[in-house]
Symmetry: C2
């Protein structure tokens, strides 16, 4: 076993879009587990849009800001290297929230919302999928439809950022629920993926088409449910196209995450009164009680082939900052993960 632990630290809070110097790759000794503690080697780590917010200084959110000079945090899947805790054995695979580092030590006891150390079974899904389709992004899509938007069969569901980690899963769930599903993405290759592989009924490239016109063409009967990942101009165009009693699942607003000054919101919010629209923001960690139902349903859909997924895998923890910045620019198709070390299941 190597003696060196590589970690990605937050070096500086980004001003606008992050740059290389906002991150620092640190070498520290591999920590040793004390009484009741577990040493884990991470295999895959996640890069997600919400992490951009944690790089800022802020208060009063559902989650704490990253600290300068400390490792960044986030979802990861690793393997137990040594354990002084009866609940964990060497070789166990564990989903954890200690990404952005190769090795970490953690008490095996549950500390918070179940994200501390959770054993995962590689016979149900590949390890990396626990960061994607059967992990937090998949559950975000699942909760959005089960609890927030609740589409009915035959309704039109429109998904922005549809080829991303959450969007592509959301679209397939909406298809399973019997909806007509429309998506937008940022390249013709992604649009082809939505149509040919993910089973969307219609899709368009938002970078090359007028949003209002594209939505009119792809959603001729209007939008009943919008799974919104983008915000800004996208949300404005969506509001123009919403049907009476439409619902907007307000999951993300990636268009504004790197703004240095506040960007004006949609000019047409009053459409929400005229069309009696509901716009509801949510955070998946408020729905952890649904984890069992999610894993059961998603496991079944994966097994039956109703759910497919793509991953964009970047190799090496030293490339995690580039992977993260690439994800913010939309370079990924499906879930973006970083492979930190060897995967013994492959």
């Amino acid at each position: 076993m190597t003696e060196t632990n590589h970690q990605v630290l937050l070096a500086a809070r980004p001003n606008g879009f992050p740059k290389d110097s906002d991150f620092e790759i640190a070498e520290t000794p591999v920590p040793q587990p004390g009484d009741g503690e577990v040493l884990v080697r991470n295999i895959y780590m996640s890069v997600d849009p919400y992490m951009r917010g944690r790089m800022n200084e802020f208060k009063g959110s559902y989650i704490a800001a990253f600290q300068i000079g400390k490792p960044m945090m986030g979802g990861a899947v690793g393997q137990v290297i040594s354990s002084n805790h009866a609940g964990f054995a060497e070789g166990d695979f564990v989903l954890n929230n200690n990404g952005w580092q190769e090795y970490f030590v953690r008490t095996g006891d549950k500390l918070n919302d179940g994200m501390d150390l959770n054993k995962v079974d590689p016979s149900i899904a590949p390890l990396s999928a626990y960061l994607g389709v059967i992990g937090m992004p998949g559950m975000t899509a699942y909760v959005g439809f089960e609890e927030i938007g609740v589409p009915k069969p035959g309704e039109t569901v429109y998904i922005s950022a549809a080829s991303g980690a959450v969007g592509a899963i959301a679209g397939q769930i909406a298809k399973i629920k019997g909806c007509r599903v429309v998506g937008s993405a940022g390249s013709d290759e992604k649009v082809a993926y939505l149509l040919d592989e993910a089973g969307f009924d219609a899709a368009f490239n938002y970078k090359t088409q007028d949003l209002n016109q594209a939505l009119a063409e792809t959603c001729p009967d209007g939008i009943d449910v919008n799974f919104e990942n983008v915000g800004g101009d996208m949300l404005e165009a969506v509001l123009n196209r919403m049907n009476q009693h439409g619902r907007i699942i307000y999951c993300g607003s990636i268009s504004g995450y790197n703004d240095t000054k506040p960007r004006p919101g949609p000019t047409n919010l009053t459409m929400m009164i005229l069309r009696e629209v509901t716009l509801r923001g949510y955070i998946v960690t408020s729905f952890m009680h649904m984890t069992g139902a999610f894993r059961r349903d998603m496991g079944g859909w994966l097994k039956s082939g109703q759910m497919t997924y793509r991953e964009t895998v970047v190799d090496g923890i030293e490339n995690a900052p580039a992977a993260f910045m690439g994800m913010l620019k939309g370079e990924n198709l499906g879930k973006m993960v970083v492979k930190i070390g060897p995967d013994p299941t492959q």
Copy 2:
């Protein structure tokens, strides 16, 4: 009986804030009722914010645009002058949607959502109150809390345009439901009314105070439910102050009704994700099935003295345009009505 019928016609579609020349006072003969028809003399007519939208050219809303050269429409209470319909007798008082004119003829049969000709009982409430506290504005407030915002006892409810026709009633309903109620209005006199007469726990003058600071001071525990009548900058300040799982009853957006070009929306909509806020637009006419429950509850509150109300009464149909424009500027305290002709119950 006079032979002349005065009507207010839409002369031109306003560009921005309406002006006198957008209206025309017309003199026409008093119509004669045919078979199955009823002749009504209006006594009170309503001026409401939503009418501003109907003066524009538009399509695809829940309600039709007013037509140039035709009488404007809206809630009114009148008395049957002569009837060729078995369901209506001379002397009956009827709530109708044919305001902006002294006399009109209508079939007594229900045509649409119950707003056609509905008998009202002046022993339950004064005739003008059927345009306010026990009419559409009162029901708008009632539905907002019963169906949209659903505040719990002890929660903080914040109401913008709180001294208006809907806001003042909304505040009192929230008090009846055991909430801490905070409101804003556009003059110190209105603020005094909210505190001294309508029973609000706190109130401020939004024209003389910084919105964010005033909300921080008057809502020290944040806002759980916002009854939103204003939109724009007000909504932005509210979003900064919303509590986790807060609800926004999106009733109106009067700040933007006279804009000639689209005004940017709140820059901070992503707060809705972080705080898991629900923003829901609604139109009271979608909840007509609740009319019975509303009248029963509101009748009881009026009788018990739990509900008080104010009216601003303008005399004479020729002054209806000025009353309407004054209401849009916030010159009213409580419901603004126009007295068109003598009220035999007074």
